[in-house]
Every structure is written in C-alpha cells, then in structure tokens.
Amino acid sequence: AQSVAQPEDQVNVAEGNPLTVKCTYSVSGNPYLFWYVQYPNRGLQFLLKYITGDNLVKGSYGFEAEFNKSQTSFHLKKPSALVSDSALYFCAVRDRGGTYKYIFGTGTRLKVLA
C-alpha cells in the first residue's frame, strides 16, 4: 500500500535563510509526487510535481523539490525564505495505476520568522 510521511509537524526558519520541508514515501513502482500549500482559511494550492525526468523539480513561488529514489524522499526546498511563505505544506503521492488515487501526508507547518 502506498503511504507518505512528513516527519516534522512544524519547521521554523528565519527570513532569508534556506528552508527544507521533508517528505518520504512508500509506493510500489515509480511514484508521482506532489507538493501543495495551504494558506490560512484557503483551499490547497498546487506547488510542484515530479513525474519523470530530472530529479530537481522547480515550482511556484521559488520552491523546488528533489526526488531521491534511493532514499524514497521528495523534500521541498527554497533558497531564501519569506515571511509570506508561512503556511501548511502537504506532500502527496499517487501511484501510476489508472485509479489516480492520491495519499496526502499529515502536513508540516512552516513558520518564517522576521
């Protein structure tokens, strides 16, 4: 069965510093991997995805994520954090079958401190 884990409930980082939000997954075969962001009182927004190809994926708002097959990880990164990046971040995995079934992680709250 597929699963996804976000080991940190909260990540604090100072503005201007690099940030990393961790995600590991378990799925048979090669996964589709996604990151979504949720700002307060709003629905989830798509940030980026890994389907195939380059292991480093670039997405919206300057975020990027690195797919590491040997470590089954897909960590979200940004070189320089902004206060406005403070939000709830969700990692999701989807298998490559025809059901298009997603599993979301439990979420990591990112706090960027001024």
Binding site: T99, Y100, K101, Y102, F104, G105, T106
Partner: protein, 112 residues
Amino acid sequence: EAGVAQSPRYKIIEKRQSVAFWCNPISGHATLYWYQQILGQGPKLLIQFQNNGVVDDSQLPKDRFSAERLKGVDSTLKIQPAKLEDSAVYLCASSQRGDEQFFGPGTRLTVL
C-alpha cells in the same frame, strides 16, 4: 479558466440534522475528489469519482455519508444524520487524468 466552485462556504447545524455540499469542478476534469480535513490534519479522501463512476469510497462512512456525481460534472456530498465528529472542512478537488489537483475553497461545517 474558472476554478473549482463549492457551496456553501460555511454551515452550522445541530447534531442529527442533515446537510448537503455542492461542488462544480473545472470544465473537462474527469476526476473529482471529496476530502474531509479536520483542523491541523491532512486531507482524508472520502470518495473519488472518475466521470460519474465511483473509483474509491473505502473511507466514506456509508451509514451516514452519500455522494453522487450526476452526468459526470457537478457533485453533491450529503451527511445524514450529522454527528459532532463530522465538524471539519470538506474539500472538493478535480484533476485531468490524475495530474495535479485543483481544490475549491472548501465548506466549513460545524456540528453543535
């Protein structure tokens, strides 16, 4: 391109009452998802439609929850009767061929 529409945005009901939520996905998106998100947690899939057929409803409490997607477009999620633990945000999302999902703003349900 219009986004995913949901209504109502907020609903407050007494326990044992019934409630219905409506979702209109992005035009052309065949896959529609309903999620329950309890405060501070990740979205939990309730039901997934591919066109008007159900792909996965394994986590839908079928004794009280029901959902339909008539003509493969709009969808309605119903709870009858509601319990206190149903208080949550109900999110609707759609996608094209299982690619990234586009989420609606959600319906915040409070059961008193």
